[in-house]
Amino acid sequence: MSEKLKYLSQEWAAEALARLKKEIPEEKMNNISTSMTDIYRNCPDGKEHFLYIQADNGVVTRVEVGTGEPPKAEFTITGDYEVFARISRAEISSQRALMTGKLRVRGNMAKALKLASVADRMNKVLSQIPAIY
């Protein structure tokens, strides 16, 4: 697709769900069932946005974006909009953002360790979506 979608719009979320389902096979998702929410602070519109992703048995089943209270998730990652945008544009790795404290994780880190590679694969897919930030 060549059309650019507005980052974190409903259209972007639909495209994200379709691509995650199509491009990451179950075995590459380690057959996991989990959920995570990214909380975007200091967004351009002044609001706080969220991106919620849910996987069941290795299949991404739900991608939801919005403002206000996000769905309850196993992991929560919080940071500035610009940090997430830079990760999506592949200008900074998510690992570096976490290691420098630009992003804060909540959840069981021991479990998260097993999901690091899965999150990395998902980030790569999301970064391929043509987007306007």
């Binding site: 940071g79 953002a97 976490l98 404290g101 630009k102 804060r104 994780v105 880190m109 021991a110």
Partner: protein, 407 residues
Amino acid sequence: MPRLLDLKDPYYIDNPGRVKAIQKMMQQQGIDVYLGSRIRTLSFITDAFCPWRSYIIVPAEGLPTVFTFIIDAIRLGDETWLDEDHVRAYAPLGGMDQIAAVSDFIRDDLGIAGGRLGYEDGMSTYTPEGNLTHYEFMKLQEALPGFDFVNAHEIVDTLSIIKDQGTINRFREASRIVDEGHKAARATLENGGFKGMTESVIGGIGALAMRRAGSVSEWNFAGLNEVSCGYRTGLGACTPPTMREIKAGEPLMLDFHSMFKLALGDHSHNYLIAPATKRQRWHADNFTVLVQLVLDSYRAGTTPAELAQVMMDCAETRGCADFVVPGCEHGIGLFGDEWRIGAKNDGPIPYWTDPDHVYRVNEMVICAMQYASPGEGIGFRYENPVLIMKDSCEYLSKYPLAIEEIG
């Protein structure tokens, strides 16, 4: 996968029961949440080896949650009885450093906005006791406003002093393993085998034999197996082994440590490397008599001070009192639980043995005796875990008490 608790296992420990006992004492003391950081506390609650800086958070009700350094979290999760949701990690990541992980968990996951937080502080003879550091204390106070921090380590100390059957069985096995280490060392040293051998190497030979027999560690907090030879025995205590060579005509002490399911094997044995002088033999014979006397004197109702007096009286009659250190024991428990005897820190010297502590049935101590003649370059050390019984004690290492002349 966490380890399942098996009631039929001879080494079974009622860990959920331990947690409930802690929670009961927390309630009695008005403590809303307990933050354990000492190794002994982590061993006592998780029933797993926690060598990295770890924290265990015990809520007023329900299961505790342990946080450890991320590199070891999976192993810890495999070894403890706690399930995956109660084994967590900290890491150098935003929101996941020690302070953030622990304080966020207490405030957000447990939903405790304030109250009394029990933590662990004190003083110890060995470095990694695990008391909360000043930095951790200050930062946790900043991160948890509304909490009143109270030093509460005596809860775990009180509960851990009487040993349950599973713990006792583990100690028996740890002592059997230590004896295997001593057998291997003796077989190596005799018939001239000691020549050219260093303290470090004989310590390693003992370690290998114990690993093969089922041990997993020689206690990293004590400098592993402790070995001293020659003048280094003169203070009557072993130290971490050096590259000093074992030589003919000198004393040698081997203090081997094993660990079996967190129970600590600890037996010190002494030799005279031939040829021994009459004076060396006299010292050695004094020591074995004193050790046997003390072993025969352990029983419920006696105290460390009374045992020391029995020992010193005997030493006086034998003319060797100048060489005897007037103390016979140190505490012992699961990994990290050493030295202090008595549930309460109310002895005359803080965080040392209370000389008036009255032993009770199923307490366990290390009979730890020192004979020191530094001017002559000779000393001996005896250690053996003893289980206090009504009228006697069971000493767990069965390695024969003797100071042989070998060479």
